[in-house]
């Protein structure tokens, strides 16, 4: 099995789905000859032509809205928002339209649309090229939010998202693009949306995370093994709707839960994860449900010391895990 990077898994999934189904097409800013500013659509225009790899005008609401219309007609558009931070102008089309198409028409219409967006920091992207925006959409029934952490999950989940008959927000951590590599089968496969995944079995504490932080947590867990602390690590993968069963199961496993995300704490995904546990299995806990998250500031600043201050890292995470284990 070939070892490829996180972003190559994105490209591979897009290419295979476009080969598989002529109704799949990509649209967005600079996705054509430029192959995307991160090169996620690299080579697609050469293979599929500019009819199916559309460089759109600079207008996110149109990117989303045109995709909604095309999806309603029967296509399977994959829209790229150049940076997750720039999804804001498209919120009305995503939340009021895509998410409600099926429900409001009593199942007469539906909207098989994927919106891909690179999110997250640690790339000197400053306030507007580093944001995690998932928490703005995890209260919108009709939407699904996927945020994979490994190349394997990227390929399987992106394919599942493209074949899904409902709108899916597919958030790709831009720091993972080239940092994270992993084995990815050449064969076609999908991973069910809505299912979390245990990335490491453990018995002392439970860590629940996703995206880049999941990798930092695994690094920390590895080091802690040497110190005799065994961490159970759950990768949410789908952020909305959450996999309640898997969350409860993971929490019960050790009775000590640490939820970790890069996004700021208040109002973040972690709050809902914690609430599920506090509602479903409170009496099986041996410690308060802790959350380790980015600070509650508007976004990640540009200046290196400030960016470093914002970002969690394996050290900060290890310390928090150790502290919980010792609780």
């Amino acid at each position: 099995m070939a070892v490829i990077s996180y972003i190559d898994a994105v490209t591979m999934a897009l290419r295979e789905e476009m080969q598989r189904d002529k109704n799949v097409f990509v649209l967005g800013e600079d996705v054509g000859v430029r192959g995307g500013v991160f090169r996620a659509t690299n080579g697609l225009i050469e293979e599929f032509g500019e009819e199916r790899v559309i460089d759109t005008p600079l207008a996110e609401s149109a990117i989303a809205g045109v995709a909604v219309g095309a999806a309603a007609y029967g296509m399977r558009p994959v829209a790229e928002i150049q940076f997750a931070d720039f999804i804001m102008p498209a919120v009305n089309q995503i939340v009021s339209e895509a998410a409600k198409f099926r429900y409001r028409s009593n199942n007469d219409w539906h909207c098989p649309l994927v919106v891909r967006a690179p999110y997250g920091g640690g790339v000197h992207g400053a306030l507007y090229h580093s944001q995690s925006v998932e928490a703005m959409f995890n209260s919108v029934p009709g939407l699904k939010i996927v945020a994979p952490s490994t190349p394997y999950d990227v390929k399987g989940l992106l394919k599942a998202a493209i074949r899904d008959d409902d709108p899916v927000l597919f958030f790709e951590h831009k720091r993972c693009y080239r940092l994270i590599k992993g084995e990815v089968p050449e064969e076609d496969y999908t991973i069910p949306i809505g299912k979390a995944d245990v990335k490491k079995e453990g018995s002392d504490i439970t860590v629940i995370s996703y995206g880049l932080m999941l990798h930092y947590a695994l690094q920390a867990a590895e080091e802690l093994e040497k110190e005799g602390i065994s961490a159970h690590v759950l990768d949410l993968r789908t952020l909305y709707p959450l996999d309640k069963e898997a969350i409860v199961e993971a929490a019960v496993k050790t009775g000590k839960v640490l939820i970790i995300h890069e996004d700021n704490k208040e109002g973040g995904i972690g709050g809902e994860v914690s609430a599920i546990i506090a509602e479903e299995c409170l009496f099986e806990l041996d410690a308060p449900i802790r959350r380790l998250c980015g600070p509650d500031i508007p976004a990640m600043p540009y200046s290196p010391p400030l960016e470093k201050f914002f970002m969690l890292n394996p050290e900060k995470i290890k310390a928090a895990m150790k502290d919980l284990a010792e609780f």
Binding site: G65, A70, Q93, D108
Partner: protein, 331 residues
Amino acid sequence: MTAKNRHNEAGLSDDQVLDMYYYMNLARKLDERMWLLNRAGKIPFVISCQGQEAAQVGAAFALEKGKDYTLPYYRDMGVVLVMGMTARDMMLSAFAKAEDPNSGGRQMPGHFGSRKHNIVTGSSPVTTQVPHAVGVALAATMQGKNVVAYTSFGEGSSNQGDFHEGANFAGVHKLPVIFFCENNKYAISVPLKKQLACESVADRAIGYGFPGVKIDGNDPIDVYRAMKEAVDRARRGEGPTLIEAMTYRLVPHSSDDDDRSYRSREEVEEAKKNDPILRFRNYLMEQGILDEEKDQQLLTRIQSEVDEATEYAENAPYPEPESALKHVYGS
């Protein structure tokens, strides 16, 4: 007969204009009935097409049923009736009954949608349908279908970013979309001069590289002619057209509105003299296509259609409470 025949010139047969007249009246009578039902406390809400029937019916007649797509806005009852929806469908929606084909009673009346009739489901936030129409046109073109997408909106709604972004996208890709603006002079209480500084909404088309035309929305034949031209352009692959149909909203914005606070009764009375249905009636009579008797027959027929629809809808069952949980996602 003195008055010259304008409809044949526009490519419309006598039967067709009589048909137009029928749909205009059907829309008007359904609308009037809904107001009565609302005032009688039988339906919670009405939003009207009154005064805009000529624009709507004239426009829809230029489209090909079962082939073209419409993305109408909430006043377009005239459009959806021509495209295949029935009086019953309208009343089922007004009464929010389970059988309502638009939404199963989930949405307010005026939120049209029907896959069967190529009417894409609409919502309340204005102008979101405009990029959708562009997407439908893009998709149909990709699939090699020679489909035209019609979308409508008010003049106030032409100030939304989605109008601009959608129109520009359609212009760049030369897509078969018709942007149909029903300018009825008000956005709820806000008059034209506080909505727009341009002479005409049609003037915006040049900014997107396609033609914009301003027409008399009270004359269904004029509307048809302009629409037909736009449809032909679109089918020939020459791209979008923006049409601004000048009309007037004859009733309050909705059953929740009181228009006395923002426009004088005189102004409204004046506008009623130009009621598109009266005007068209006179034209048809001048042309000898319609006479008092025929007119009466038609109105009686419509009357009973409206009665039947109302009775059916009023007696139809509501959706099951728990059905509210259905169709959030596909299986």
